[in-house]
């Protein structure tokens, strides 16, 4: 299985940097997420995680370092987290680390909402 690498940018839209490693299971999303077509952008990420879970079946660590995401990106992030929750419930090894600026109270609240929503244990890591 191949790695998934997307180089981020901050132009008209904000594309997050994506680095999903099929050998280590370490998957990182960083930067900012505000896209022209959110569903189109996140579909390959969701498909990659789905394939990893079903073929590699190894441990997976999702590392989120997003300083900003809009509400439409927040739906796609929920889709990824729900996949990981299902994998964990089926016996998969899952770690989610979410890095955030400790001055960003709204972001911490957002992470708490994902914890409530998914039932996943998400490690909140203040910067």
């Amino acid at each position: 299985m191949e790695n998934l690498e997307i180089e981020g940018s901050h132009k008209n839209f904000f594309i997050p940097t994506v680095s999903f490693n099929a050998r280590t299971g370490i998957c990182q999303i960083s930067g900012e997420s505000f896209l022209e077509d959110t569903v189109e952008f996140y579909l390959p990420l969701i498909d990659w995680v789905d394939e990893y879970i079903n073929t590699v079946k190894g441990p997976i660590a999702l590392i989120i370092k997003l300083s900003y995401f809009n509400t439409s990106s927040s739906r796609s992030l929920l889709d990824i987290l729900n996949l990981l929750r299902d994998y964990e419930e089926a016996g998969g090894e899952v770690v989610v680390n979410w890095h955030f600026d400790e001055n960003d109270i709204d972001m911490e609240e957002d992470i708490d909402d994902y914890i409530i929503d998914t039932g996943l244990e998400i490690n909140k890591i203040p910067l």
Partner: protein
């Protein structure tokens, strides 16, 4: 009427006031230019700048998607038309937006605003989570942008609808963000 008194209060409290006014289609270029302007204008207060930026993106996208008045760009894409203002006051910033909506959307829009305003913060977060688990793209329904705006602003929404004719109304929204 409370809204009118608030408007007068805003007028008299205004400090050097207008940071941004824009009237036109909310396409990607416009969003990008205004977003950059916000980051630059408010760079001395990163916490508030971030809130203003987040609110701006959601308000602008709402106009872009849901305004009943559309303009087409060179690539043939349609974008909603509306007006947006960001003003600075002594102790807060204020976003005002206005756009045309179809009359049949008036009730759902008002219900949405009313629902947001009667919920306390915890209930509003619950509401956001509920909407996020629903399909998107239904005006006044699955859209969580406005809920996020109210959460980020941490203030009730001020809103009004003016009837233009039997088919169209003008929807006005005012969002306040404290400086500290």
């Amino acid at each position: 009427m409370e809204f009118a008194e608030n408007a007068l209060q805003m007028y008299t409290d205004v400090v050097d006031s207008t940071i941004i006014t824009y009237n036109g289609p909310f396409d990607a270029q416009v969003l990008s230019i205004i977003a950059e302007n916000i980051e630059y204008s408010l760079s001395n207060n990163p916490r508030v700048s971030k809130k203003i930026f987040k609110i701006f993106i959601e308000l602008a996208q709402n106009i872009s998607y849901y305004s009943a008045e559309k303009q087409v760009n060179e690539e043939g894409n349609y974008f909603g038309v509306g007006i947006l203002m960001l003003r600075e006051f002594k102790d807060h910033y204020s976003f005002s937006t206005g756009n045309i909506i179809e009359s049949k959307q008036v009730l759902p829009v008002l219900q949405k605003c009313e629902t947001i305003n009667i919920l306390d913060r915890e209930k509003l977060r619950q509401y956001k989570r509920k909407l996020r688990n629903m399909p998107s793209g239904v005006p006044g329904g699955g859209n969580i942008g406005l809920v996020q705006v109210a959460l980020t602003a941490d203030h009730p929404l001020e809103y009004d609808v003016i009837n233009l004719d039997s088919e169209k109304s003008f929807y006005i929204l005012n969002v306040r963000v404290n400086k500290s």
